[in-house]
Symmetry: D2
Subunit: 186 residues, 4 copies
Amino acid sequence: MKIKYPLFGAVFAMSASVALAKEPVVVNQAITEKEVLAAQQAWCNALININATYEKDGKAAAKALAEKVIDSAYAYQMGVVLFKPTLTVNPQTFRTTRAGALAYFVGGDTAFPKDTGFALKGWKKCEPVNTALFLDGNSAISMGKVHFVDKNGKATTVDKTWGYIKDDAGNLRINLHHSSLEYQGS
Amino acid sequence: MKIKYPLFGAVFAMSASVALAKEPVVVNQAITEKEVLAAQQAWCNALININATYEKDGKAAAKALAEKVIDSAYAYQMGVVLFKPTLTVNPQTFRTTRAGALAYFVGGDTAFPKDTGFALKGWKKCEPVNTALFLDGNSAISMGKVHFVDKNGKATTVDKTWGYIKDDAGNLRINLHHSSLEYQGS
Amino acid sequence: MKIKYPLFGAVFAMSASVALAKEPVVVNQAITEKEVLAAQQAWCNALININATYEKDGKAAAKALAEKVIDSAYAYQMGVVLFKPTLTVNPQTFRTTRAGALAYFVGGDTAFPKDTGFALKGWKKCEPVNTALFLDGNSAISMGKVHFVDKNGKATTVDKTWGYIKDDAGNLRINLHHSSLEYQGS
Amino acid sequence: MKIKYPLFGAVFAMSASVALAKEPVVVNQAITEKEVLAAQQAWCNALININATYEKDGKAAAKALAEKVIDSAYAYQMGVVLFKPTLTVNPQTFRTTRAGALAYFVGGDTAFPKDTGFALKGWKKCEPVNTALFLDGNSAISMGKVHFVDKNGKATTVDKTWGYIKDDAGNLRINLHHSSLEYQGS
């Protein structure tokens, strides 16, 4: 073991080090609760904005905005998103591609003939209410209710699971989205 | 830079090292597709076994087996499981506790009065059919259909999302489970 | 889309939900800076305690404590620890097994004949000074200096990398430890 | 519970599903042993190429290549790399910035006056020999020896730890690099 310097010097060096140590560079890749809540709110805001754009500027503008939302909020660029929207039916229940997500939100895609455009249904309010979050470091999942109210004052509630990953730019992206109408009992 | 040994020795040392290098110790915490598929099959098998135990040995035996299944296949010991079973209703939609999961599978818990025991409904077949898997290293999620057939030959299909983590013993545990009846159209 | 209740009811339900939403269950597996700093301090404290136990109660007691420290602070139960101690030499540079770590800290193992017991060298002070931390969700790494002072007032500084994982009980464990004397220039 | 179709139909549907199930979309973010070994070899090749470029085309060309290597093989764009090179001295032991890494590899930066350019030292062979790998899903660490041989046939061995993360494009990047000369005994 090499001896570097006598005690006095060591103490001096340590004091300087301690001062330095107050500010190590810290990179933190973990997803926080705050980030999840913000991403949920952003999803709700985007839904309402797509509808507002549709009402004000028409379908083409709504579609353009929906594409922007999908490209920034979902993780299709990773290769797949596990997306089970609320209102899809067989054999196109799952929308693992960007095209399938876009068709669900704004309709008008002959490849998805049963889609009428979920985001165009007059939504005015959208509120996520979480039951639980599991923050697993570089991924996170949430489960809870999302309450919607449309322009006629009609309310709808869905059971919602979202999964998130963080991209290289530090933004959360949805890699999982399972939405279902509440079971009404037998 | 310290010189360790002349070229010949280096080459000799490298040869020995290369031989050694063939077998570094490798610990791999990542969840594989094979592990996810096995965990899904184990869940199906457990469901059928709980029902078979119920038919053969009665409810107490079925409950005991269900507890064993929950304790080995789910991650309640982590603090929470994000569990939205197929048939639950408000205000007990989500079963984030072990007690809530047990009540759902075998019923008989006055704290969950609407539960009649999903695992006791005569299931004879259970088949997961995945649409997509996202393996995120130490966590994994799957989405797809699960097809059930009961003792009367009646079939039911649900949309299913499972999330998995790997525990210290190397076993997968379900930390997310969202199940919903298929949307039948408006 | 099913209509659940008219607007007034919806607003009421949402208010109740919002109240509930303030307290979702949150499980957070991510490793924090605070946890890393605490684990580093615990390592230093353990080193000093092993030495103090050696001075007061002898080698057997020091060994017993070292075993306890290794079993609680390192991740050997995961299958391997990537451990390059400061003072080891070929062909036993790396101590990927619990036995190798114990021999390094307290010596006395004929399988590791060059080990004299690093933890028995009279350490009185041990101070980590981090240059950078990378918190990668469920794992974390730190790099910096560790300053030691022994009973004679002699100081030693090493370059230190630690890697941590979080076990099922929520405790950090060292799965990586690379320590090296400072390069003194050519 | 909704009844979908009688048994025969169910069996038919399942057969179709099974066929489909053979090819779920699988996105796998986990780092594999093979990827780590390839990244290590790429690092060695890059070192030798920088030196060869230096010998053939001069220092400016070597520097340009080194920049390219750093930008593609290290993770400085994440905010920090925990990099303790073999031959750095106080107070610039750690090279947490891209500029510090570049200075270490090719020298010529007045901000790092003691750097003479590690990559320009005539390296002709570079061989990693791993003792252990810990693959932690979306991150991975390796520990072992790296054997170098220079143009004069002189060999050098270092103790080496590398940590890797996978970027959005699926490429491994070094976020940890601790290299140290072997301890020679007291």
